[in-house]
């Protein structure tokens, strides 16, 4: 597990650069060597998924096959959509030897079906809490955070087979180990509206607004997320949400890796916290974190 393939996906190269930065930081600290898959291609996102089963499989199979060629057993994808795509392809190939054979012969894709596809949350959950605790340098005990899992991290349960699909706790456990006060709440897996932000923004704004509202009610000062799209909907569009819902949220949305990074002693800048739309500055000051 110390060395595995890393599939950043498109978001982590651009809009969610800070997720990439913080993920690499946390993994480095924990002794996990991430080998970025050379020449990785698009996971197909939900465009491929909605178009054709085989196409969606083939796109992800290509990335898995790169890992296999490099002799990397397992692959981690921080973005839940990428993770879902890879896991879906791997499961399809495992269950359908004919498809596997077809890919091998026609597309020259040779995927090792034995290795595991991890989401970053799942990967870090394999570590003993003591390993995490050993890295903690900064006390974040004052920080009250809710963990927001979104849809694809723990679902569909038959595919993912990780954590409770209705009331997950893995991210909470990770951040608790990092010393953060995690609050219980009921919107852990509620829909954020996802890409409806583009086609039907009113639906997304309502759904994301509900999530922020519940987080506020729970007493959260920040929301930890593990998905670039969730982050965009909750952070980038928070001003629009306020306008649409008539609310006044100023709730910082942080990647869970950023929160862990802070606990491990990284500066907010190193973790790209300054890149967010909702400023985390006041919160960090309150928690006593030097923002230099």
């Amino acid at each position: 597990m110390s060395k595995l393939g890393y599939f950043p996906g498109c978001s982590l190269e651009h809009s969610a650069l800070e997720y990439d930065q913080s993920s690499r930081y946390v993994c480095r600290k924990l002794g996990i060597e991430l080998v970025e898959l050379p020449d990785w291609s698009c996971c197909g996102a939900h465009a491929a998924h909605h178009t054709q089963h085989k196409l969606a499989c083939a796109l992800s199979a290509r990335n898995l096959s790169i890992a296999t060629t490099l002799g990397l057993g397992s692959v981690v994808a921080p973005c839940p959509a990428c993770y879902s795509g890879l896991k879906f392809a791997q499961t399809a190939l495992k269950n359908d030897p004919q498809l596997k054979e077809k890919f091998k012969n026609e597309l020259k894709l040779d995927c090792n079906a034995e290795g595991k596809v991890f989401s970053l949350v799942e990967l870090l959950s394999q570590l003993a809490p003591e390993t995490l605790k050993a890295q903690v340098k900064v006390d974040l005990g004052e920080l009250k955070v809710v963990a927001y899992y979104g849809c694809l991290l723990v679902r569909p349960p038959k595919l993912v087979q990780f954590d409770d699909p209705e009331n997950p706790s893995s991210m909470d456990d990770l951040l608790t180990a990092a010393g953060v006060q995690m609050l219980p709440w009921d919107y852990k897996v509620q829909c954020c509206g996802a890409v409806l932000a583009v086609s039907n923004p009113d639906i997304q704004l309502k759904l994301s607004g509900d999530i922020l509202q519940m987080a506020k009610l729970a007493g959260a000062e920040a929301v930890a997320v593990a998905c670039p799209l969730c982050h965009a909907n909750l952070d980038l569009r928070q001003a629009q949400i306020n306008k649409y819902c008539g609310s006044k949220f100023k709730l910082p949305i942080l990647y869970f890796t950023q929160v862990m990074g802070l606990a491990f002693g990284a500066s907010p800048k190193e973790l790209g916290i300054d890149k967010h739309m909702v400023a985390a500055g006041p919160l960090l000051s309150k928690a006593g974190i030097n923002q230099a």
Partner: protein, 655 residues
């Protein structure tokens, strides 16, 4: 050996595709065959008479009939043989219709096959032996397992006909789940009012012996002659001395969740499950009583006016014999806490349907006032979610629980009667109100009682500002809906019980993956189990409501009466038989027999051989397939008969 072969035209059903005359001519050449005829309709009266005439005139001692499937007319033709004075088991049928003329178009090929089938039948019939049924005595006593409404009804029906019944109930009282209910659909009569008289009638019936707080430990024997061990668990209360005054239950300082009220309130370590319990005698919970555990307290003993507390009491095992057994072990609700979307059980005000029955009940923990468990307040908005653990393959419950639609409507009515200002919402998938007065009942709930029916599943229940929020979809409006409620009642699906499965193993009857007992035939033998003499009634067979349960219980009782009306039972002779001279006593047969029909028998020289109990043997033949020296043979399907049947085919030349 004088074999007669009869080939049926079956109108032209067979002769259209098979050259029946050719087949008959061929049959005449076979060894042992003394006559071969074709008949237009072998099963008709002239056909039957012709066969009988041949048997008598030609002195036939074996008969082959090439006609339809033995599944259709084997019994008919067996009767023909009996009428002609032949043993009915000296008959072999060749299936020339269903498995030949109806499925083949090429006349030559069909005829060739028909000839083969006759060859095989003649080969086999030559080896058949006359078989006689044996007779066994029938014990007239009946055991009923389970004291819910099904068991009570069945026991009363059998006992009323003048036969002795023993009823065994696992819990300290009879009454079952029905005793928990408040009012019951579709007439909304009070459950206790119709059930408790029956409970009392049962307890006082001269033909019925009641063992509560007892379990069936071991069952052996067979139809007409079951031997059953019943464990009477120690109640620690002397049933002879106790007057049921209940003083002990008031004094007991220990508290535990009350099973009868499904944990909504507490009971003592010594308790009477509910006020109308039968027998109305307390029981001491040995797992929590401090006197039992540490020899401290003993308050109940001190207070008892009749000195009935008996800490020294021990379990007692009774051995009884019965002719028939009725299993009526009922159901339980599935464990709904697997539903994370409804909070895994963490919200106090998300309750099950049975818990709501107790809340509605005048004898329940709230005295019949609807108060929610968390803070005891009257709820304003009550939401009922149907099909929780029913029709849900994702949670391994694909079947319908068959009563939730109806009791959901009932809850709407009762709730509105109790709390006229309340609002009731029912989230449903479909409404299944199929029985007499049921659809009208649901209509009444909607029209007269203003129940709000929302078609759609609830995807999430969570707490917000101290109220429960239900999110879901109204699939008729095509919109997501959100409802704030004070109390959520889950119509939790019905499942078979683990204790029924354990009992099924003891009884050697089959059950399905959900713990429901399997009937012998889903349409034609609905109350017979897979083992003769054991019958099933009520919700242990499948989810069902009270009217159906009672009907099934009476049906099981009538089946029992049919059985015990005979003094002797005739058993099928198509059973396994041991040739004790050839048996070497390896007892592999005993190991594989699914019906425990094989036992050890010690011969005079001290050697042990197998013996088949013909009353238990069902004639599957597993034993004869595994016996190395072929000492055990299944009558009608012996090795020699099958070899001969195959050789009948393999050794003959095709035409």
């Amino acid at each position: 050996m004088k074999i007669g072969v009869f080939i049926c035209h079956c109108g032209n059903n067979i002769s259209a595709a098979v050259g029946v005359e050719l087949v008959a001519r061929h049959a005449l050449r076979l060894p042992g065959v003394v006559c071969a005829h074709t008949i237009h309709h072998a099963c008709s009266e002239p056909g039957q008479l012709l066969i009988q005439k041949c048997i008598r005139e030609k002195g036939l001692n074996r008969v082959v009939i090439g006609a339809c499937s033995p599944r259709v007319h084997e019994a008919t033709f067996q009767r023909v043989l009996v009428q002609a004075g032949l043993n009915p088991y000296l008959l072999e049928l060749a299936n020339l219709r269903e498995q030949c003329s109806w499925v083949h178009e090429d006349r030559e090929a069909a005829t060739r096959k028909a000839i083969d089938l006759i060859d095989m039948a003649v080969g086999k019939v030559a080896r058949l032996q006359p078989l006689l049924s044996s007779k066994v005595d029938v014990n007239k006593r009946t055991l009923v397992i389970g004291g819910g409404i099904a068991g009570i009804q069945a026991a009363l029906d059998v006992a009323d006909s003048g036969h002795e019944v023993v009823l065994v109930e696992r819990t300290p009282t009879i009454g079952g789940n029905m005793a928990r209910m408040d009012k019951v659909f579709p007439t909304l009569d009070c459950s206790a009012c119709i059930l408790t008289p029956k409970m009392v009638e049962l307890a006082t019936h001269p033909n019925i012996t009641l063992h509560t707080y007892s379990e069936v430990e071991q069952v052996s024997g067979f139809v007409g002659n079951f031997k059953v061990q019943i464990r009477k668990k120690a109640r620690l209360v002397d049933m002879e001395k106790c007057t049921g005054c209940g003083a002990c239950t008031l004094k007991c300082p220990i508290k535990a969740p009350a099973e009868f009220n499904l944990g909504l309130d507490k009971r003592g370590a010594v308790y009477i499950p509910f006020p109308q319990a039968v027998p109305h005698i307390p029981v001491i919970d040995k797992s929590i009583c401090t006197y039992v555990l540490k020899k401290k307290c003993g308050l109940c003993q001190k207070i008892c006016p009749t000195d009935a507390i008996a800490f020294e009491q021990q379990d007692e095992v009774l051995e009884e014999e019965f002719g028939a057994i009725i299993v009526a072990t009922g159901y339980e609700l599935m464990d709904w806490t697997v539903y994370g979307e409804y909070g895994h059980g963490k919200y106090k005000d998300v309750i099950t349907s049975l818990q709501y029955e107790r809340i509605l009940s005048a004898s329940g923990p709230t005295g019949g006032h609807i108060r929610r468990p968390s803070d005891g307040k009257e709820p304003e908005v009550i939401a009922i979610i149907a099909c929780v653990g029913s029709r849900d393959a994702a949670h391994g419950r694909p079947y319908c629980s068959s009563v939730c639609c109806m009791y959901s409507a009932k809850y709407a009515m009762l709730t509105r009667e109790h709390l006229p200002n309340s609002r009731v919402y029912i989230f449903y998938m479909d409404i299944r109100a199929y029985s007499k007065m049921y659809e009208e009942f649901v209509q009444r709930a909607q029209e007269k009682y203003g129940a709000n029916y929302v078609r759609g599943r609830v995807s999430k229940v969570f707490e917000r500002n101290g109220r429960l929020v239900l999110q879901g979809a109204d699939t008729l409006l095509g919109q997501p809906v959100e409802l704030e409620a004070d109390l959520v009642v889950l119509a939790v699906g019905i499942t078979g019980t683990a204790s029924t499965i354990a009992l099924a193993k003891k009884l050697n009857i089959s059950h399905d993956e959900y713990g429901f007992l399997t009937e012998s035939h889903p349409k034609l033998r609905p109350v017979e189990s897979s083992t003769p003499g054991i019958f099933i009634a009520g919700a242990c067979q499948s989810p069902k409501d009270i009217p159906l349960t009672v009907a099934q219980a009476s049906s099981a009782a009538s089946k029992v009466l049919g059985l015990i009306s005979h003094d002797k039972l005739e058993t099928s002779p198509l059973v396994a038989e041991v040739n004790i001279r050839r048996c070497v006593g390896c007892f592999r047969c005993l190991d594989v027999c699914p019906f425990s029909a094989i036992e050890e028998q010690v011969l005079r020289d001290g050697s042990k051989v197998a013996r088949v109990n013909p009353a238990l043997c069902q004639g599957c033949g597993l034993c004869s397939a595994i016996c190395p020296p072929a000492a055990i043979a299944l009558s009608g399907f012996t090795d020699d008969q099958l070899i001969s049947q195959m050789e009948g085919l393999c050794s003959q030349n095709p035409v």
